[in-house]
Symmetry: C3
Subunit: 392 residues, 3 copies
């Protein structure tokens, strides 16, 4: 991550109060296993960290299979996959294993070891802030609390870091803030420590599950008609197959950003949503599950959405009474009488017609059915000819 973008790493001590929550003790794990009578590790943390329920308390004991059973989690209908489970807020321990591993366990006694520690430490998150022309901010957030999961963890981090790397190199109208945080507690911690920043957030995106082969999906902010909602819908419509979801209070960290006390204009860009993905929260969410081309397209879609937000300005037609004579400025086809009009000329007419100070570039694109880029190019030409002036 640091090679891509200049991350600031924040450590927030265990016990810190963050709104209704408290930063928990820090969990670390060195080893864990279940050994059979012959001393063989039949479940081994060294082979996959998913084998241990995250946040499991330390355990070192010997149990019959029957006594062990309530601590074992499998996916019976996916017998080769290991589930991913956590127990953040209840003291507990457990192992996740494939159904085949469970079926192979004989009736004897097992040595069980979880060499973990739950001690005062800190919550860790990364942040990148890129100042722009304005102190108004765009917030981009991804979660990093699901180790080993490729789509539901790594894909959002990777895209966030590449976005930061790209934006660092270009002129920016807005300032940009990237958060790489543990889900829920991390977002809550950031919000609690940055309440003075919140009023500057104009637009935001939560990035999650952006690498699978499914089509792009966008979940609207709680407001439902925020500029980021309209920008994302425009971009996804232009790109083709996609799906738009209304806001719901279940999901990733949009839950916190869109809580009623903040109600931030933050939506979520994903591919297949969690409740439609069989691989979600299993060992099958690995690098083989990632479609590199779709991951790359997710990145360009993010850039397209940010491009819309950066360039969605509002203009006033300086010649509002009747059309200006575009022909004398070389902006219109000279030969009259044709039936079809190229989209650039339709873009000129739409932009002049709607630029009354009430309609932004995105409004014009949506109403005309033309791509944002077409209207944006047209705006540049008309502005250069003195026919448009930005409304500030």
């Amino acid at each position: 991550m640091q090679r891509l973008a200049p991350l600031t790493i924040h450590e927030v001590p265990s016990g810190t109060e963050v709104f209704d929550w408290t930063v928990p003790r820090e969990w670390n794990i060195r080893d864990a296993y279940i050994k059979n009578d012959r001393g063989e590790r039949v479940v081994d943390f060294q082979r996959s960290n998913l084998h241990v329920v995250s946040y499991s308390v330390p355990v070192r004991t010997r149990l019959s299979l029957e006594r062990l059973r309530p601590h074992l989690f499998t996916l019976p209908d996916r017998p080769d996959w290991i589930p991913y489970r956590t127990s953040y807020y209840a003291e507990n321990w457990g192992f996740c294993l494939s159904q085949r591993q469970l079926d192979a366990l004989g009736p004897g006694e097992y040595d069980v070891c979880i060499d973990s520690s739950l001690e005062p430490g800190s919550l860790t998150y990364g942040e990148v802030y890129l100042p722009g022309e304005s102190t108004d901010e765009v917030l981009v957030s991804a979660h990093l609390c699901h180790p080993s999961l490729a789509n539901d963890n790594l894909s959002g981090l990777v895209i966030g870091a590449h976005l930061a790397q790209y934006l660092e190199q270009v002129a920016r109208r807005y300032s940009y803030r990237f958060l790489f945080v543990p889900g829920t507690i991390g977002a809550i911690t950031w919000l609690a420590r940055n309440e003075t920043v919140v009023p500057s957030i104009r637009h935001g995106l939560v990035l999650a599950s952006l690498g699978d082969a499914g089509r792009l999906t966008y979940k609207k902010s709680r407001r439902g008609d925020a500029a980021v909602d309209r920008a994302a819908m425009h971009v996804l419509r232009q790109l083709g197959d996609h799906e738009i979801f209304e806001f719901s209070p279940y999901g990733y960290d949009e839950r916190q950003f869109c809580s009623p006390g903040f109600n931030l204009p933050v939506g979520r860009l994903s591919r297949t949503p969690m409740d439609r993905s069989r691989e979600y929260h299993t060992s099958a969410d690995n690098l083989q599950f990632i479609d590199p081309l779709q991951l790359a397209r997710s990145l360009t879609s993010c850039l397209a959405i940010l491009y819309v937000l950066e360039n969605n300005r509002t203009y006033v037609n300086q010649n509002p009474k009747c059309e200006p004579q575009l022909g004398k400025r070389g902006l219109y086809h000279a030969l009259g009488g044709l039936t079809n009009v190229p989209s650039t000329e339709m873009g000129l007419l739409w932009t002049l017609n709607l630029s009354d100070g009430q309609h932004g570039v995105l409004d014009i694109a949506d109403r005309s059915g033309l791509p944002f880029e077409t209207i944006d190019r047209v705006v540049t030409v008309l502005r250069d000819h003195g026919l448009l002036k930005e409304t500030l």
Copy 2:
């Protein structure tokens, strides 16, 4: 009726001016018949009161079939049914009979007798008033002017009386007023005598035709977006097969309650509407036409609508910045990582997210797609944990 609910019976004298109308003379009838040459009663009021056009003036004469014919009403396409007809506001007389009865009449002379009286008397209606915590009222109205008709008359009265009986026994947020009135003139008379009560009416339902086998239908108030409209639509959607009608100025007494000078939030709950029912206003609208189970379900649907109105309060999340930690209060599943969330937990999240003082319980239920009862239960839990406070 009196056994079910403590009715106050009002008598309003003939000649009383009620807005643009005048309470008419009182019509009473003792006997009526058409006798043939052999002295046989071929049409006999003693067998069915429907045989006489309601409000017929007294008649005692002898007529040929030809002269009698214009006073006879049948339903040619339902040869066994007797139609129901009235002549309230034009002095007239007539008999209703089955087409088979008419066909059987020979060409001779007939003795015709209607032993009725049209004399100063009074208009009679019943009223039940149940005071609640608030003087704000819910109005429930049913018509009683169609003697012998089971669905289009009795069903509304029965359900109204049972509602009154039930509500009398429970704590009430609103005050309730039940009207059992002759259609049109009765509602007009009540409104004219109770103009000072009208401003207290917050919600209202006209009950009619609630016992047939058809699905439930709700006709919106003139406002179209009144709380009672939204409550009824929510309840009917939860119950399954139903149909919603936009307001129209034709129908039952919603015509008067929704006249522009009152524009009360009064909708109508029915099953098959009059213009789709062949039995409507015929002798076939009898007790055999009533489906007891559907009648009972109509009652529970009314109760469900009133339940929504009683409990549709608005709350403010007392921990509006980020989600409160539900786990530490035992309100959330302890084991993380699961894909599906039970509807009660979704209800918790939706209620916390939307309780910003702008969304009532019904808004939350509608937006979440969860039943009102789920949100209502959740509200109680959250209020008990100090996480919600009612907005007054």
Copy 3:
């Protein structure tokens, strides 16, 4: 045109500045041809004025077919049709001919002559103003700049002139202004010279392409919810098969009337729109292309729209509390108990119910689903009985 309606003819000198435009030099043409080696006119302006690109500069030269070719326009997929082309704002010249004519041209040298003149003169347009009770105006505009084209030129002029002739003879609530102008520059010129009139324009229609066999189409004004939009949609819905288009800044002179500096409530009535008509801007748009019955129906549709605008008044029910007793006024069926209500009686009930000073006749017609004429007739009856009073 003068036989139908008393046109005022305006001449605006070349060089006059009209907003961003300048009235151009006047183009006149006496003769034009292409002669082959044998002196035969293979393309002859005397046979069709479409053969010359409108506004062609004078030419008299001798060219090889190869050199001539860039000046020749055909429709390869319609080999018998001559296209219609113009070159208003770029100095150029050209001939339009059928593909068959082009194919028949041998390789030799051709005498080319366009005996035209482009000299200071004037732009000519016609105007009819019919004063009404109010100085508020209805604007009706048709273009006259496509000589020889029947549907896309003559049909709008013919209907405009007949409307003016009819309206001249009847009482008018609004004043009416008919414009017969060259497209674009004519409308711009009129607007530039009549800015003080513009604020009086309450409704407007551009008439174009009203004679073909296609169904009626209406293109909404830029506002989208202007009274003329709602009137046209109501009338077209009553008439049956039709299509409604949202506003777009491409088309006829609605482009100018709906430019953002004016934003007039002007829509467009047409039949087949230009981009769906193969005959558009070709020699096939001739009198054979006109369907006389459809042309006549276009006229009656315009009259119906203007009828709605003229009569769309707003009333207040003088007996707003409960229904008035229509029976005692002879306005309601005497015999009660019937299932179906005639539409006139439904019109009475709807009009009384919605006449609260907020709903005009068109609102009532749209909400009731009844024709405007029904509500309008009912309004007259109710007003005559003192039950309605106009809101001014």
